[in-house]
């Protein structure tokens, strides 16, 4: 028995086809206007979980990039400060060499001593450097000045060479589980109270020796100045090494960011050429179904009976 076909069956069929065709066109339009293949979880559940992970990783990566930048500027500041301290010590050495020469009138030693005292004060200022509102050389005691802001002649309170700075290091997050302490502590740079070449102690001793006109003592102290200069250079090299490491980390993070974005795009994004082609195909099918409908639906035998 052949299937009996009625007008309403054809109507229903046409409506069904046209509406499912419109539905597909709607999906494609949506992909076209958002540029994304995955617009809701059911579009591709597996792809969605990947896409969400990439998005979270990109968010975290962006934060690591910011942290790396902060750590870098912290180290750059430390480097500049160490440079200044180095300059001060160089000048101290020059003055010490002058002061180590015998057979000068006391006035000459006193003149040198004036500048040496200023150098001491300048070193204290360097030790109390602030960056972004924090004392950089006092470990985690960032709100407390490590070296009392007193001048060399002020006898009250603790002298700078008696100070043990806080040993804490501010950790910067550079990646999942990766942290880097960016700050150097005061004692690392200027020396412990127990160190013979504690920079403040050495300057004080030079100053005292000059005051007494004890040029031999000044001469002896040049060695301590040299070892401290060596330590400073060493610390600057360390800062440089850390900056290099940060540059590498930064490069890697940038690269990771690019990779993540590209892999996210591969997962989420619609292939425009494909979407447009499909949309055109669907448009053609839609046109065809409409025109076929127009031909099929209207006439029946009624139209031909006179």
């Amino acid at each position: 028995m052949g299937i009996r076909v009625t007008q309403s069956m054809m109507n229903t069929q046409l409506l069904r086809n046209v509406s499912s065709n419109l539905g597909r066109m709607n999906d494609l339009q949506n992909q076209l206007s958002t540029g994304r293949r995955i617009n809701k979880p059911s579009d591709d559940p597996v792809g969605l979980t990947f896409s969400m992970r990439y998005r979270s990783e990109i968010d975290a990566n962006d934060q690591y990039v910011k942290n790396t930048d902060s750590a870098t500027s912290m180290l750059d500041f430390t480097d500049t400060t160490l440079g200044q301290a180095g300059d001060v010590l160089q000048r101290l050495r020059e003055l010490a060499v002058k002061g180590a020469t015998g057979a000068q009138p006391q006035e000459a030693y006193d003149a040198i001593n004036l500048e040496v005292k200023e150098l001491y004060n300048q070193l204290v200022e360097i030790g109390n450097s602030k960056f972004n509102g924090k004392y950089v050389f006092n470990g985690e005691q960032t709100q407390t000045a490590p070296y009392p802001g007193t001048k060399i002649d002020d006898a009250t309170g603790k002298m700078a060479y008696e100070v043990t700075t806080d040993a804490g290091q501010t950790q910067y997050e550079l990646g999942p589980g990766v942290t880097l302490g960016a700050n150097l502590t005061g004692v690392e740079i200027f020396g412990n109270p127990t160190d013979a070449d504690n920079v403040f102690l050495v300057v004080k001793q030079v100053s005292d020796a000059l005051k007494d006109g004890n040029y031999n003592k000044v001469s002896d102290l040049i060695g301590s100045i040299d070892t401290r200069l060596g330590t400073l250079l060493e610390k600057r090299a360390e800062v440089g090494a850390r900056t290099n490491r940060l540059a590498l980390v930064s490069d890697r993070l940038t690269q990771t960011g690019v990779n993540l974005k590209s892999i996210q795009s591969k997962t989420e994004d619609a292939d425009m050429a494909e979407v447009i082609t499909n949309l055109k195909t669907e448009e053609n099918v839609y046109q065809a179904s409409l025109s076929a409908g127009a031909k099929l639906i209207s006439p029946s035998l009624v139209d031909f009976l006179k």
Binding site: Q7, D44, K66
Partner: protein, 523 residues
Amino acid sequence: MRSTFHGLETARRSLFTQTAALYTTGHNVANANTTGYSRQIVNMTASQSMEAYGLIRSTVPGQMGSGVEFTSITRVREKFLDDQYRNENKSFGDYSIRQDTLEKLETIVNEPSESGVRTVIANFFNAWSELSKSPENADGRKIVREQALALTDALNHTAKQLSDLKNDLTENVDIRAGEINSRLHGIAQLNRSIAKLEGLGDNANDLRDQRDQLADELSKMINITVTEQSDGYKIDMGGTELVAGFDEPAPVTGETLTDAVASGDLNSGEVYGMILSRDTYVQGYINDLDRLANTLANGDIEVTLPKGSVIPEGTTLTNSDGSTTLYSGSVSSRTLSGDTKVVLKGLNALHQLGYNTSSTPTGLPFFTNADGSTGTITAASITLNKQIADNPTKISASMRVNDDGTLIEGNNSLSVLFSQARDMRFNFGSAGDPNLNTVDAYFRSIAGQLGVQSEEAIRQMNNSKGLVDQIDGRRQSVSGVSLDEEMSNMIKFQHAYNAAARNMTMIDEMLDKVINGMGVVGR
């Protein structure tokens, strides 16, 4: 012996019968677009012949026919297709509701996007990382506060949307119960009317169509079996009888329908889809989200506390091997001599290990319920501890204090740990049945699961829709009105009518000849 007027009678019967056929054609054409209408046909039969069998018969040869009559008007319909249709329609009803609910859930979850829960989770951890760079400052704390509030707001909002959806579904079940009742009532009434009409020997075609239509509509809402009995349709839902014969049915309600799901009597159709969507899908996501909120605040995490951290006075910590250590006494005796792995109860416990910049630097639980309690936290009521929200200096970042108990502000150990918690695996299960995941991965799995369920529901709905359409096509093929067919029938019946009328005219002329034209020869 035939009568003189036999021919007239034959023609008259034909005229009447063809008229009936033409009227029925008209009825069919008129109902070509009526939902549930099945085409009707007039069953014609040659009427009883002049001479019945018996002992006395005339000597006239042959048996003289007496024309046509119609014995019945019947609808063309196949019961088997009705049963099939109703069977598939219930699945279609079920899956279309499931698909609809899951689509709404997808909108609520709102992924992939830059404005969903995933984003606020990422922003929350980023804010801690930002704070870790300047733990002594107020601005970093304010960012943490705002991002924590954004996170709890997002969870609250999502939970609210879910409970709204749940209430909508409950309301819809009640509305459907009303619709079911009106149809059951209609069927009982039709059972009565049909019995009355058919008791007289007629076919109540149009009423039967209406009753089948009501049964079709019911079949989309709930799973029904239809049995035709002498007193009309008996409709059962599983083991529950909904209507039988003439008796007014006992009304169903949202509660009876929910009970029927529990007893297994209601197992398909839209109402089942609604109850299942509500109790399985929507409630499932509410539970998942609650677990997310509670685990973030209170779930077990393994954390490595850095060397040098000072544990707050009187804190008991659970070590990774399960043993506990009480930290008490002087600052130095509470200072960790090396990195220490401990198991903590969520970010709340972690935050309490820190010190903040306020006048009382003791760490507070970070998240609370809206009422301030910290027991079991739900997505609907999770919020940032009010004390912290009012005063962000109570956000701890440091884990070190001086010997005199004053804060070391530059320490950022706690904020780093908070930030690193993005990669820490929280226990979303229970102690005995652990489910270790990062917060992000757990939420991702929720969204992924939703995607799979929704994808599956779309597929199932399309399948069952295809089947329903196919069976409905078969039914239309049998019962639907074809205008072409009706038109050609109309021509057929019209010609028969015309011919019968012509036959009558011919007999009329013949009788005219006999009555008026004969016996006047030679006049």
